[in-house]
Each structure stands twice: as C-alpha cells, then as structure tokens.
C-alpha cells in the first residue's frame, strides 16, 4: 500500500493538492479574519504553501541534495539548486515585510487602540 505513494506522479499530485489546500487555508483566513495578526499570519501561510509547491514539484526522488559530499563524483544527479536559492530569498523578503507590517500595526494600536481590520476605516471611502 505504501508503494503506491512512492510513485513520482502520485507525489506530485500529493504536493499540488496539499500545498493548494494550504494556500486555500491562508486565503480563507485572509478573507474572513479580522485581527491584524491573524491576517499577517494568513499571508505567511500562503507564502509557505507556495514555497512547498515549488520545492515539492522540483523534487526528484532519485536525485540528491545539491551539496557535494565525500563519496560523490561531481555535480550530477542532483536536485535543482535554483528554486532553493529563489525560495531562500523569498523567505527572507517575506519575513522582512511581515516584521514591518507588525511594527506598523503595533504603532497604530498605540495611537488608536484598534486592531480590527474592519475598524481601520478613518480615511474616507
């Protein structure tokens, strides 16, 4: 039974469905939650889902991690390093934006006492 899940196609389907469901959870949170922290959290979850999708679809079971160790002959039969580098960049950027957003929220709360996205409507329209 477990062998069924080891086929590359099945893994790809699992990754696609799983990460899209995680994306859905984030989107759902973004649309329904009111507290600013929850909204930032939803955004972070959506980002994580995209990273999982990317790395998961690039993943080849037979290939190795793109790091040369002692008993290897050269950079052959390895997983693609470019997506990993991209995701590394994207994670750091996402964290920076998140921290900035939280600091805005903290300062806004200090001034007005509001954390609810529905109450942040003092600018007209």
């Amino acid at each position: 039974m477990f062998e069924f899940f080891n086929q590359p196609e099945v893994i790809k389907i699992v990754v696609t469905v799983g990460s899209m469901t995680l994306f859905f959870v984030g989107l759902f949170g973004l649309l329904t939650q009111k507290h600013l922290i929850k909204i930032f959290m939803s955004v972070a979850i959506m980002e994580t889902a995209l990273f999982l999708l990317f790395i998961g679809l690039i993943y080849k079971q037979s290939a190795l991690a793109p790091i040369l160790t002692d008993n290897q002959q050269g950079f052959i039969n390895m997983n693609d390093p470019v997506p990993q580098a991209m995701i590394l960049t994207a994670i750091v950027i996402g964290m920076a934006v998140l921290a900035l957003g939280v600091s805005f929220a903290i300062e806004y709360y200090k001034l007005t006492g509001k954390t609810d996205i529905d109450e942040i409507t003092s600018l007209r329209n």
Partner: protein
C-alpha cells in the same frame, strides 16, 4: 560607464549613511543630492549609445543582466530627473520643516530610485520581483513616515495589498520556472507561446493580479486614494511621478515579450478604459486636494495603461509622451500642494479659494492644463497620438471613453481653477523662496517646451516605442549574450 552603477551607488549610499552622518547635519542631505545629480549626468552621457547588456556575475541567459536600450534609458533619465527635482526642492524645504530622522528619509529616497531603475533595467524575472519588493517596502515606509494615525492606516493598507500582490507574482514566477525552466525574460519569451493554453492563461492572470495592484488598475486600485490621503503631499509626488511609472513599464515590457501577438489586448484595453472612467467620476465629488489628485493620477495611469495595451507604435509613443507630461505635471502639483499645506495647514478643497500666491497659482494652472491635454502644453501631444492610434485601429468606444474622461477631468480641474481665481478674502501671502521658484520654473518651462516644440523629443520617443515593442531583437540580444 556601466548601467549597474544606477543601482549600486544608491545602495552604497544607503549602507554608508551612518558614516556620512558623522560629517555633520547636512552631510547626508548634500551627498544624496550630489549622488542623484551624478546619476543624472551619467544617464545623459549614455544617450546615443548602442543597446548595452550589463552582465552580473555570469552571462545571460544563465544569470542576471541589465539591458540598457533607448526605452529603458528614457525611464532611467526620467526617474533620476524627477528625483533630482524632488531633492532640490526638499533641500530648501528641510530648512524650515525637516522630516524626523532625516538620514532615514534620504536612504528611502535613494532606495526608491534604485529599485525603480532596477525594475526598468532588469532582464530576469526573479530580479524584477526583488526590485518590486524593494520599491514596495520603501513606499510603505514613506507612506507611514509621519506616524500619524492616518499615515499608519494608509501604510497598513498599502503593505497588505502589496504583500498580496507579491504572493501572486511569486506564484506566477514559480509556474514559469516549473514549465519553462528559466528565469531570463528572453528565454521565457521564446518558450511562452508553446505552453499549453490553460497554463498560459493561468500564468497571465496571476501576473495581471500581481502587477494589477501596483499599476493601480480597476478593481485592484481601492487602496490608492487612501494611501495618497494618508501620506504627505511631498511623498505623493514620488508615488505619482516615479513608482507607478516604473511598475507600468515593467508590466508592459514583460507583457510585450511574453505575448507579442497581443492575446489579451482587447481585455486590457477595456479594463483600462473602465478604470479611467470610474476614476474620473469618483474624482468629481472629492473634497480633499490630495484625493482629487490621487483620482486624477488613477485616471491618467489608466489612460497610459489603455494606450500601452493597444500594442501599436503610435499608441506607445503617445503613452511615453503622457508619462513624461504626467510625471512632470504631478510633481509640480504635489510640490506646490506641499508648500500650500505647510503655510495653510490644510489641504481641503476650499483652501484654494483663499490661496494667495500668484506664482504658485500660475504654476498649478499650467500643470493642470497640461494634464488636461490642452494644445501647447506637454499633455496634448501624447493624448493626441493615443487618440489617433485608436482611430486608426477603429476602436471607437475607447475613443469616446477617452474623450468623456477628459471632459470629466476638465470639469473638476476648471472647478479648482475657478476656486483659485474666485474673488474673496485671501489669507496671508505665501512666500516662495528662490530654490522653489527655480524648481517650479524649470518644470513648467519643460512642460511648455515639450508642448510647443514636441519634435525635440518625439524622435527619441518614437525610437523608444519601436524598441519597446520589438521583442525579437531584445530576445536576440540576450540569447546571443
């Protein structure tokens, strides 16, 4: 000389400010302005050069590279010029009403400039995403800079929409890499046509949503007016003059490369037209000057969007003209509003009735007439070329919409002009100091120069339009290396 300096030097300046601030209070301010002036001269010195590829670390199509051709040089020069004008204005403004933590303000200005130039020059889609984020983050902080409740509210809204936009852009980039296996714009452009239809449409939609937030297109532009109202008029001049233009160029540059046959062209044209008409209608009933000009910006940006979406050379040339005219006019208007707000402490629409500043009045009127597209002002030739292009293509509904939108625009501009020349009690006279007079005169002179003698630049813009639409030679240049 090399085009990477446009990005490396502002970054170097940003990283080095703690050292520079040791040289006294004015050290950072003057270094920043000097740097921008240097970049402006660099940009001018590059005019006339052949298209040039700047290699970073490793040759394209494997690595990141910057392409400097006519159209990207146009945008680089425009942005640098705008920033220089802004900086010179601010150098005089800061004597009386400096921003808190000024060094940080200067760092943000330079980062904004570097990222706008990076968006224009980069030929790698993930690098475009990085600059997309740098420009976004600098803009969020500039919005919230004053730390008043409304500024922070605008900052939060901007940041949230911006991070949603970046999620969709990342999604599109991920799918592109999974299906094409490259990040270089030229390679993607070569292979994009061969993708299955479904995935092609899907990537395009994700891309449109990601950039749609930033190019302020309906229905993704709900945040724009709040951001303009929440931040200061000073900073708004940058948003309207630099940031949105950089995003617009990046979006259409990539669109032309990926979809040279213009598959979504009709859809985008109507999207732009709808945003234009909605923005102009909503602008009619605004009572805050910052909001009025925010909606007017939305209308103009939508007009540029519509023109770019047509994918014809005339329309692109017109759009470049409008970009030039709109950037200059909006920086004039917002800087004038800054002076007014500093003196009268209010930007309600009624403040114009009591405005007592003949010089500013004339300057604002000239900028507004240029925005309207009255003949002999810079905005006319662009609007004329765009209308001509649509007439040639025989898309008459769009012609009608552009004309109606212009009429609506005229209604509220002439309302404002009427307010300014209304007889009644006036407040104290605003003293405009010499530097500000110089900047305003220079910019209005440019408006009139482009308006009266458009041929000084129309040849260059025609070449630029050709280069922008010509995806084949762009691809050939990059793939050959």
């Amino acid at each position: 000389m090399s085009s990477v300096l446009f990005i490396a030097l502002p970054l170097l300046f940003g990283f080095a400010t703690p050292l520079l601030s040791k040289f006294g209070k004015n050290g950072v301010a003057f270094t920043s302005t000097a740097l921008q002036l240097f970049l402006l001269f660099l940009a001018f010195s590059l005019i006339g050069d052949k298209p040039y590829i700047e290699i970073i670390s490793i040759a394209p199509p494997l690595g990141i590279s910057f392409v400097l051709n006519k159209v990207s040089l146009f945008f680089v020069t425009l942005f640098t010029f705008m920033m220089v004008a802004f900086s010179i204005y601010y150098l005089s403004y800061r004597k009386t009403d400096a921003y808190k933590n000024e060094t940080k303000f200067f760092i943000l200005l330079n980062m904004l400039l570097a990222s706008a130039i990076g968006l224009v020059l980069s030929s790698d889609i993930f690098n475009v995403y990085v600059f997309f984020e740098i420009a976004g983050i600098s803009a969020y902080i500039l919005t919230a800079y004053k730390k008043t409740p409304s500024a922070l509210e605008a900052g939060i809204k901007y940041l949230l929409t911006g991070s949603i936009a970046s999620i969709f852009l990342v999604f599109a980039i991920i799918l592109i890499y999974l299906n094409i296996g490259s990040l270089n714009l030229a390679i993607i452009a070569q292979d994009f046509e061969t993708l299955p239809h479904n995935i092609k449409v899907f990537i395009s939609i994700l891309f449109l949503i990601g950039f749609g937030f930033k190019v302020e297109i309906f229905p993704l532009n709900f945040w724009v007016s709040d951001v303009y109202e929440g931040s200061t008029a000073l900073v708004n001049s940058l948003f309207s003059g630099i940031v949105v233009k950089a995003y617009l160029f990046a979006f259409f540059h990539i669109l032309y490369l990926f979809l040279p046959s213009g598959e979504f062209s009709t859809f985008l044209i109507y999207l732009g037209a709808i945003s234009m008409i909605i923005a102009e209608i909503v602008a009619l009933k605004q009572t805050n000057l910052k909001r009025v000009f925010a909606y007017s910006s939305l209308g103009q940006v939508a007009l540029i969007f519509t023109a770019f979406a047509l994918q014809s050379i005339d329309a692109i040339q017109g759009a470049l003209f409008i970009i030039l005219a709109h950037s200059i006019a909006k920086i004039v208007i917002f800087l004038a509003l800054t002076t007014i707000e500093k003196n009268y402490k209010s930007l309600d629409i009624n403040v114009l009735k009591e405005l007592n500043a003949p010089f500013l009045r004339v300057v604002i009127v000239i900028a507004m007439l240029s925005l309207l597209g009255i003949p002999l002002f810079a905005g006319f030739i662009g609007k004329f070329l765009v209308l001509k292009a649509f007439a040639v293509e025989q898309i008459f509904p769009i012609l009608a919409i552009i004309i109606i939108a212009s009429l609506l625009e005229a209604v509220y501009y002439f309302k404002l002009i009427g307010f300014m020349f209304e007889k009644g009690d006036r407040k104290d006279k605003i003293k405009v100091d010499f530097t500000h007079k110089f900047i305003f005169s220079l910019l209005t002179f440019l408006i009139l120069l482009v308006g009266i003698t458009p041929f000084v630049i129309s040849g260059f813009l025609l070449d630029s339009a050709n280069v922008m639409l010509d995806s084949i030679s762009y691809i050939a240049m990059l793939v050959k290396g």
